[in-house]
């Protein structure tokens, strides 16, 4: 058997020079320090993305993206298709864990200042992927065409419509008309299964290539130290990665089996919004903040102000590598930590407030 594998390897090596790749893997080391644990969240996020692609393709085999059939087709998946309940629940749970893991990954990169030169592009692609992830969540939420999804999409697209100048056309574009209808479902379905995955894949490839090319970042303090410890990427780090992935998959299975995702009731455009309606947890902090802004602040509409503030904050956050000059120069920048802690506390507090209200 070994001789045969060797022949196959030689055949490939002669043509595409695998040897170089193997030598590259062999030279790749992962820094070991007290913050090393955060390195794993990128890999976990990647794994959850793979799960989403796999379960998403499986769901596509039976899902019907139309106003009349969407809800019924998911009922069919959950009651008639073998393990359909499991596949759908895993897709829903993994979507949420994906956002959570990506957010943890983002904050850890932020606090470790890993976005600093030369990794600005890695940060940018990562942030864009997180925004796309939110888009995945928002578009996927509508696909079961149930009551909650219907009203969440009405509210969400209505907020987009508040944005000055571009808002109204944007809302029409998203809804495919004046109201949330079957046309909206068709669009969201297309975004969710074609447009977003395509864009995401391009960003992901750039992101991963850069991580391989530049190696893992070390926190600035440790970078200056003399006795730096490392671990070979292959096989040591990779095996740890894979064991963690196994644990994540088992957690997903447990969640999907013991806390199966609800389907709710089919959307009815002529029914009142149910009490206690709220967006997905990762939008809650923004949703809750909007509730506290008065309807008019001086001459500005409250909603417009809220969206403007969140938009500006998002943009500043996205562009950190370009305005955090001190870290780039190799100096300590405590302001970054204070801002980060402030943002983290704000998001946690308002998410909790949104949850209990």
């Amino acid at each position: 058997m070994n001789a045969r594998w060797q022949r196959l390897y030689d055949w490939l090596d002669e043509r595409v020079d695998i040897g170089e790749l193997v030598r590259f893997m062999g030279k790749k080391y992962v820094p070991v320090h007290r913050h090393s644990v955060w390195y794993y969240f990128g890999g976990v996020t990647l794994f959850l993305f793979i799960i989403q692609v796999t379960t998403g393709i499986l769901l596509l085999l039976y899902y019907k993206g139309s106003e009349q059939l969407a809800f019924e087709s998911i009922q069919f998946i959950m009651s008639k298709v073998q393990f359909g309940w499991l596949v759908r629940s895993i897709h829903s749970w993994a979507a949420n864990l994906f956002i959570l893991s990506a957010v943890i990954h983002m904050f850890s990169v932020y606090f470790e200042r890993a976005y600093r030169k030369p990794r600005e592009i890695t940060w940018l692609t990562g942030m864009l992927m997180l925004f796309l992830g939110l888009g995945f969540g928002f578009s996927g939420y509508l696909l079961p065409w149930n009551e909650l999804a219907y009203f969440a999409t009405k509210v969400g697209t209505d907020i987009a419509g508040v944005v000055p100048v571009v808002g109204k056309p944007l809302m029409l574009f998203l809804r495919g008309g004046d109201d949330v209808t079957g046309a909206t479902l068709s669009r969201f379905f297309g975004f969710h299964v074609a447009v977003f995955p395509g864009l995401f894949t391009v960003l992901l490839v750039i992101h991963l290539l850069l991580v391989q090319r530049q190696g893992m970042s070390e926190p600035p303090g440790l970078e200056r130290g003399t006795d730096r410890k490392t671990m070979p990427f292959f096989p040591n780090f990779m095996l740890r990665d894979v064991s963690l992935w196994l644990i994540v998959l088992n957690v997903l299975a447990i969640l999907a089996v013991f806390f199966p995702w609800d389907l709710g009731r089919k959307a009815d455009p002529f029914a009142s919004a149910p009490a206690g309606i709220h967006p997905e947890w990762y939008f809650l902090f923004m949703f809750q903040s909007l509730k506290y802004i008065p309807s008019r602040v001086l001459v500005v509409d409250g909603e417009v102000l809220g969206i403007g503030l969140f938009g500006a904050a998002g943009l500043i956050w996205l562009l950190i590598p370009f305005w955090d000059r001190k870290t780039a120069r190799g100096q300590k920048n405590r302001t970054i930590s204070y801002i980060g802690i402030g943002v983290l506390l704000y998001v946690i507090l308002f998410t909790i407030l949104g949850w209990i209200s």
Partner: protein, 161 residues
């Protein structure tokens, strides 16, 4: 691996080269078996999921296709028989015949060609005569026959028993 390695490997004081090998082999087998069991546990639900569930279908034995007077002479019409198409032929002489409209070649639906006086499949130019016999082109066997029953003015098609 020698047969007794497993034994020495598990024995206390396994520090000898043979013992090390035994323990290593044991771990390798345990890990490999675990990985296999785990892959099976993932693949089984996925493969089961791929199998389309059987949709409950109403078993159709007979359908009413219309009034005799409404069926033209020298014509062929496709009628629904459960989920399958059936072609109802009325010859120039006026007798009725019902045949499966599914071409025996590759599953296309056939049609009546007035100009040729045959049943014709557009996909690969297969031809059947009006009794359903394959007379030209690729079809390997005749079309299945159904029974036509005329009760008063009503025409029924039923499965041949």
């Amino acid at each position: 691996m020698r047969p007794h390695d497993g034994v020495t490997g598990l024995a206390p004081g396994a520090g000898t080269p043979g013992g090390e090998g035994g323990r290593r082999d044991f771990l390798k087998i345990a890990l490999g078996a675990g990985a296999l069991a785990w892959i099976a546990a993932v693949l089984y639900p996925v493969i089961a999921y791929l199998k389309p569930p059987r949709q409950a279908e109403v078993e159709v034995t007979s359908v009413k296709v219309g009034k005799l007077a409404a069926i033209e002479k020298d014509s062929g019409t496709i009628v629904r028989f459960g989920s399958k198409p059936v072609i109802l032929i009325r010859s120039a002489a006026g007798d009725l015949r019902a045949l499966s409209a599914t071409c025996t070649h590759l599953d296309c639906t056939v049609q009546y060609r007035k100009d040729l006086g045959v049943i014709w499949c557009a996909c690969h130019n297969g031809k059947y005569d009006l009794t359903g016999r394959n007379i030209s082109g690729p079809p390997p066997r005749p079309l299945d026959e159904y029974r036509v029953i005329v009760q008063g003015d009503d025409v029924f098609v039923s499965r041949k028993t």
